[in-house]
Subunit: 407 residues, 2 copies
């Protein structure tokens, strides 16, 4: 089974599920409230390398809808240099090459390095590729593994880390750039997205398919109310979801719908009012959000009965609803959001103000394993885990069984 | 008392108020459901004039924060021609002139005329100005009256017509332009706003002061959640409101918060979740919206107790809350929105699916008269009217009286 670490700057994804057993857990684990230091990551990849104009901050993004392309991104600091990537299936032997582009931006006195993006497309599924960036003595080799063919029973492991070093101040800055109609600065300079492949008009919302999962990324800070471009795009994207090909339907966004931390409480209410009914109707399996610097998981609940006229109110248990998981705990200089609301609301299943990361191991079309691992001063401690049943296959199986039973 | 007709394309404003007497009225007036024909307007102003390159579609907008400037806009169709406006306080004698700018845009096969905007600033308050646009035999003279000095007891009459010939399809088009980062096409080409004067970063949200009123215009289709530019701007703009100078605080937006028509029901819920508490805290007098092609007025109610955790629910009577009036009844080729929800919700005071327009006559710092006039096949029929008490002056007077009574 392959794996893919997902940390698209501001948020990201995961999970699994047994039966609803109401009564939530507020973890008693207490961590000192220092802002995070860096999460230990592979130094070979993330350390600043030596040598003239050596490529640094090398990262990789799916480059198309279905996983047969990647975008390689890196930064050089001395001069623009080459944006070429050489690649092949044997280390040191590069029988393909692709030409990318570089750009830079400035913000007041800050001047970015030269940021390179290079698309490698027409790749084979399930294949290990070696690639080289940079030139001469400063060139560096890395590798990646392409995902398996889109297949309903493909097993696949995702890792999800949210809010990794982004602050909401920096988000305001992103927003500022966006509204100033200069959207390719900063954030978008550094994080390319394959938005055109999913017919999106903005790099801030898009979808990809990977193995047995269809993953939708939404933008909390762009307009999303009815008739806006994001709303129109999502309506169409849900029609493109084929649970027979990709049984797992996962949504990523920045601001959570269901979270009971005092910090940012109910900031997701605006988007919930618009999109929650689509999540329920389309049987989304799981919704991952960031923003709140703590971990929290909901039960399957929905609040789509709420109606300003009728008096119906508040989240109720709903088997068709997704699970909501806040994973804004990747580690961020703002520190943790330590104060949860008391009492713990009915919708909240588990919550803890620690740094950590999640994994979602899809086993087949019906089952996946979810784990949240607390990062306890460098030690990985499994803290919240369970089995997730697919919302489409398990529930339609249940429907068939029920129908048979009744007839 | 002066008057000012407000019809900024997609919506606009007004109202007055006696005591809450719950139990709403659904008017039994029935109008045939034909899409609207043009509301009769002054032909001298709105008819297409004769002559080579004659100025047409002449309209006027407040050009600054406090009412000492106007923007004159017009269209010429033969050639760009002059963007100059000559003006003065005597008809036919123009001792001032100002130079404007013209532009045009195209959309697929459509090509706009030459759209001119010219700012006339440094004007005197409460003064009638005559102005001339166009040149030679095709030039045309019009006049406008500047508002009185900003003064808490200035009387002033506003007219409000919403959704006058704009469709939500056209709004989608506007939105499309916005997100395509080409925001000066179409809508913004034609409707300039004095947004810089209120420190806004976008022409789609801004504020002006006029006589004894502070008027805030919000954008339903731009992002507005916490940390966005519109949110940050509104937070600051509320701080700039000085009810001792401008007792009347009026908000205009496109999508209503409280409306009980089946069409567009609860589409304003997203923005309500973000801004309603500010409206209550800042004692907004009245909120005008358009979008729904019918007339509706709420009681003073708020839903800020609603909390996804606590179970508190639904709008309750609230003396600190604004009145909400939907005036999306200006007349629009989409026709009327004739189906109201049954039963009429508690928050709805009066509703009727007719074309019409509203007037708000501010008398002094404490009282204003509100009228909604049905346009019954060209006849103006006063249908909903009442006295509005100022939310700042009357309520603080009440507080003082109460305090005195208690001590």
């Amino acid at each position: 089974m392959q794996s893919f670490l997902w940390f698209i700057s501001t948020l990201f994804v995961f999970l699994s599920y047994v039966e609803n057993t109401f009564g939530g857990i507020t973890s008693t684990f207490i961590r000192s409230q220092w802002p995070s230091v860096d999460i230990p990551l592979d130094n070979e990849v993330f350390a600043v390398p030596k040598g003239h104009n050596a490529p640094q901050q090398v990262h990789i993004t799916q480059g198309d809808y279905d996983g047969k392309a990647v975008i390689i991104s890196w930064v050089t600091s001395d001069e623009p240099g080459s944006s070429e990537v050489q690649y092949g299936t044997t280390t040191g032997k590069y029988d393909h090459s692709a030409e990318g582009k570089s750009s830079s931006y400035s913000f007041y006195k800050y001047k970015s390095g030269y940021i390179h993006h290079c698309l490698l497309d027409g790749l084979e599924y399930d294949t290990k590729y070696y690639y080289k960036v940079g030139s001469g003595g400063s060139s560096r080799e890395f590798w990646f593994q392409t995902p398996p063919t889109i297949d309903p029973d493909a097993s696949y492991k995702f890792g999800i880390i949210g809010d990794l070093g982004q602050t909401y101040n920096s988000l305001s800055t992103v927003q500022h750039y966006m509204e100033e109609l200069d959207p390719f600065k900063s954030y978008l300079h550094r994080y390319p997205t394959p938005y055109l492949a999913s017919k999106s008009t903005s790099p801030l919302w898009y979808a990809i398919r990977r193995a047995s999962a269809h993953i939708i990324v939404l933008s909390s800070y762009s307009s999303f109310v009815k008739y806006t471009l994001q709303w129109m795009w999502l309506r169409e994207e849900f029609k493109r979801v084929d649970r027979k090909k990709t049984p797992w339907l996962i949504v990523l966004m920045h601001v959570p719908f269901y979270d009971s931390n005092d910090v940012h409480f109910m900031e997701g209410e605006s988007m919930r009012a618009v999109f929650e009914k689509w999540f329920v109707r389309n049987r989304v399996d799981i919704v991952f959000a960031g923003h709140v610097h703590a971990y929290e998981r909901s039960y399957r609940i929905s609040n789509i009965q709420y109606n300003v006229s009728s008096g119906d109110r508040n989240p109720v248990p709903d088997r068709s609803a997704p699970l909501y998981i806040t994973v804004g705990d990747g580690g961020n200089q703002e520190g943790l959001a330590g104060r949860f609301r008391d009492p713990q609301p009915d919708y909240s299943a588990f919550r803890e103000a620690s740094y950590g990361h999640s994994t979602l191991e899809i086993k087949n079309r019906t089952h996946a394993f979810y784990h949240w691992n607390r990062n306890d001063d460098g030690k990985k401690v499994e803290t919240d885990s369970f089995i997730l049943h697919n919302q489409y296959w398990v529930s339609s199986f249940r429907r068939r069984k029920l129908k048979k039973h009744r007839s």
